[in-house]
Amino acid sequence: MTATETATDTADWTSDEIMTVVAARALAGSATCFVGIGLPSEAANLARAVHEPNLVLIYESGTIGTKPSVLPLSIGDGELADTADSVVSVPEIFAYWLQGGRCDVGFLSAAQVDRFANINTTVVSRGAGKPEIRLPGAGGAPEIAAHANKTLIIVRHSKRVFVDKLDFVTTVGFGSGPDDRKKFGLHTGGPQKVITDLGVLEPDPETCELTLVAVHPGITVDQVLDATGWPLKVGDKFQVTKPPTEEELSSLRELHARTKKAHLGDT
């Protein structure tokens, strides 16, 4: 099968769908993924359905090797425990499994991202003299980004999110450049891809600054630059994303349909 044989047309999918499809592809070849709730969870479950049936999903509620048939609304839905290989305590999941180096990929989302893939999920400024907008806070993200062998970030692209300077550094990506992770005592790879509804960003191998390496079909480079709060550089190996296959799209839509039905059934 080649992608073109089963490829779909831009009119066939939404910007959120291609974001999730591309993010799921990024997990091909991975063995274990520590998954954040929301967009990362959706992509990780699509990856398990289409690319890596043996992908071990780990959620911070302590569920290891969980195989949900529907997307969990929260990180600790019963479905995650009922379908897990093992359920361990929260201190154990963070100390032994994450800090202990058992996770290939950490999969996160963000409220704000900067050019070195640092993440803010704590507070956003409303301007001088006004109270800050309070966000949920760190959760598991700082240690996921610190201890997973590598990190993927999935987030919708806008100037509000991709900012020149974070209002607060909750979770360290590359700090202020290529030497910082080492300086902070971190020996893992850090962020490898930022997947958005417009394209894909990857850190430059030398400078660690995020560069645009792909746009999704129908998206222009200018659109991405306009939605980014710093002068985003375009990488050397820039390309256009392969459109979703029929299998990717139908798997994703079935997942959503099952989820919707299950959550309505809870009432």
């Binding site: 609304l73 929260v90 201190p91 704590t122 806070g137 760190a138 959760g139 005592g185 809870d266």
Partner: protein, 269 residues
């Protein structure tokens, strides 16, 4: 040992106490939190990794002066509006915060349970959290010289959790996602547990933890006491309620009306 919920809270929770209601999405002790609201406690330091809707309700009803936490959102839905209103606008009163990551909170409870003054973890370096949170420091490993983060133990005056069942002697059994409850219980001076039911004997269940009666202060039988959270084997998470809470809690008046009708005057939800 097995008493009413009203009695368990009245005997063990006092104004100004450090109180932890734990339960990681699963087994959140909602009914006990509602009883604390009805007993009009004030100036509590509330401790919880994920404040969730129960602390949104308690904060909005003015029981707390401080919150110790690591993730304050409505999981899968969005903001906790009462928590935000307290932090951003001091409504209904000023709420001090002591903010950590999940790994930091888990380590703090573990130190508390172990009767150690602090815990260490490899974390927080490069983050802005240590600039705002006084309870994060750096220590050097005396063996390797590595710089590590130190966080102080949490030892609640009272920890409250919900579990599946107890026997008639007040030994408690819980299973499924157990979060940080064992550590929160072992770290506390006093412990209250609400359970779905009392049984003659605790038949073994895969992955279950038993907390013996002699480390507990009170056990109260409250079927459905975790709702809208859930108790594996007894109920499912009421995801529709978590979604509905977004609208109920957004506006101060709507929130107060709902609390009056469903918690202050009505049966516990």
């Amino acid at each position: 040992m097995i008493v009413t919920l009203e009695r368990a809270i009245a005997d063990n929770v006092h104004d100004g106490d450090i109180v932890a209601l734990e339960g990681f999405t699963h087994l959140i002790p909602f009914a006990a939190g509602h009883e604390i609201i009805r007993q009009k406690h004030r100036n509590l330091t509330l401790v919880r990794m994920t404040p969730d809707v129960i602390y949104d309700q308690m904060i909005g009803m003015g029981v707390a002066s401080k919150l110790v936490f690591s993730w304050g959102g409505n999981p899968g839905v969005g903001s906790l509006h009462r928590f935000r209103d307290a932090v951003e606008n001091n409504w209904p009163s000023v709420l001090d915060i002591d903010e950590h990551s999940h790994a930091g909170m888990a380590a703090r409870y573990t130190a508390g349970a172990s009767s150690l003054p602090f815990a260490i973890l490899r974390g927080y370096r490069g983050s802005d959290l240590p600039k705002r949170t006084e309870t994060i420091a750096e220590v050097e490993c005396p063996f390797t010289g590595e710089q590590l983060a130190a966080v102080p133990a949490i030892n609640p005056d009272v920890t409250i959790i919900h579990a599946q069942r107890a026997d008639r002697g007040g030994n408690v059994q819980m299973w499924g996602i157990l979060g940080v409850q064992k550590e929160a219980v072992m770290a506390a001076k006093r412990v209250i547990i609400t359970v779905e039911e009392v049984v003659d004997s605790l038949a073994p269940v895969a992955g279950a933890v038993v907390l013996p009666t002699w480390i507990l202060s009170a056990v109260a039988v409250v079927p459905g006491g975790a709702h809208p959270s859930y108790a594996s084997g007894y109920s499912s998470r009421d995801n529709a309620f978590y979604s509905a809470w977004d609208e109920i809690s957004r506006d101060r008046d709507t929130f107060q009306e709902w609390m009056k009708e469903n918690v202050l005057e009505g049966a516990t939800v």
